[in-house]
Symmetry: D3
Subunit: 132 residues, 6 copies
């Protein structure tokens, strides 16, 4: 099994609902360093898991609507607690859709899975893995 | 599959038995940077893998009896070679017990597994993964 | 010249004023990983630059009013562009005041300077150094 | 499941064939920071996944013929696009052969798998996992 | 004194002349992770050391002619041993020229210095600092 | 001003004297990741700050007597509190002596200073700088 990872960043404001979140119930913010990993069993004919340029562009395309925004104002996220793990799931699911829609090219249809890790600091991170 | 990781540290003295360990047979010490990863298939109703505050507190609770100690003096470890992989296993097993005993809350009973990585330096580390 | 560094984190929402900031003019957020470095020419009688526990507590004390907040709502920051370098300066200046007020202990009066680095992501950071 | 990781480095010149590679079609170079992870279900009688000294020596032995070289001049790689994922696969496959040949010792025959990650920069890396 | 750092990367082939370089006398390659730090005593009216977008663009502009190339073929480097420290000096000197030529904007004329660090691996790096 | 850094590691047991050290008064241990930085104003005729191989060998030579040991048993350290900053000072002073004694070669006599950083974990470190 092979994998390749591309990295980007997301800087958002948000608040979280529920006593479990303590001071994070207040409007605050986070930098998420986002690692998107693409996996496949056999490399394509160029010796690649995926065209890394297209993978990075697609990751940027997925992050752009959220970047430099207040997630509390996003109608698509209304009623959603935007925890680090929820956001990792959203990014992973959108990358899976992009692969299926051919946005990463024909060769990318051979991908076996996508995993997304969001690091909210040097000491805390969450991941979501999806099969294709 | 989702995961969340919490990090803590452990500073111990110890020695290792067996020629394979060379100079590490002498009493020396190590800082272990400890990453505990909790995994589950579906997030809980707060959008969490686990209450990260409780997870961090439980990791501290597991590490505390060993922290700032000489492991060679711990009766519970007599006859055990406290290699990095053995220590990763001990920490993982104790976290598994804590989850099963409800120490991380009711929602944490949905966890699928725990993985523990101990980094003994910038260039060497060991892990242990346990299913729940 | 000796130094010791303690690390903490700050998670804030904010917006920046001025065309130069592009999309960061919108309300967004950041995690700042904060490294506070204390310097002195000669160690104290315990062999320390500073009591690291007190230094970490004072750094937390300085960061607490800003942590998990929206800096745009802080009256003390009204009219201030809370760039990474401005925030580094604020934290450094407050640590200098704390040292002068004796908050880090009598031995800390021997400190020669304080430097604060705020890392807003894995690829961007700013620092401020102050002499004592 | 337990694992241990050893790290080494590889500094090579190479060029890549195919329009997808853009400027990397020109002769250029890379530092690859190489992490080799060895996995097994149960530790050996010394409490080890593998003798880390032998593992590191074997990794060095695998990397040495490529290190400080121009991969374009290596007859064994003629016709191979030496992408990061291809190189990860080559290193993993050679480590698997070494384990099977007994180069890591008798105890290493209990290994369940090998994974190799090559980091070509702080923001891009590729991996290959092989079962044993 | 304030500073801001921007990061980029450089992937080159090269060889070094002199017995002291051992195997690095052969044509090989390296990834250099490049950190360019800009310093000044007082922030500009936007609360900045430098417009980070222009700083990053100028760093890219300086690195571009060398990126994805074989430095041994660069006529401007003929007779120069392209060690990590020499390359750090070249990048620093070119950034100093750019600042003086106004390429980073009028506000950047208040800069006090530039420092460039090139990391050739996780365990080796070199820097060059220049005053303005 | 140019600099080059070499990295090594030190794994020791020790205890610290004084109430300020809390639980670290007990025998425990630490991994110190050691970065030794050599500085000079002008590069030598090979384009180097220092022969990095000799610098790394000398750093190892300085660390070797302490590595894999219990510092409490070292007669040369009797009565010394082996804090991270004290150890950084010891390593820096011994490197300064080595440079002066010619152990890093004739060209190294042009060095302007040495700085040593000891990282005891991912979140705590201390440094000592010495002029030559």
């Amino acid at each position: 099994m092979f994998s390749v990872t591309v990295r980007d960043r997301l800087m958002v404001a948000h608040s979280l609902s529920g006593e479990v979140f303590g001071p994070a119930q207040r409007l605050h913010g986070a930098t998420f360093v986002v690692d998107a990993t693409f996996r496949r069993g056999v490399l394509d004919e160029d010796g690649l898991v995926v065209d890394i340029g297209r993978a990075a562009a697609e990751l940027r395309h997925v992050l752009a609507p959220m970047d430099y925004s207040n997630l509390d104002d996003d109608p698509g996220l209304a009623g959603t607690n935007t925890t680090t793990e929820v956001l990792a799931g959203i990014v992973a699911d959108r990358l899976v859709e992009a692969v299926r829609a051919g946005a990463l090219g024909e060769a990318a249809r051979g991908l076996a899975g996508v995993a997304v890790t969001l690091r909210e600091s040097d000491v805390a991170w969450a991941s979501c893995e999806r099969s294709l």
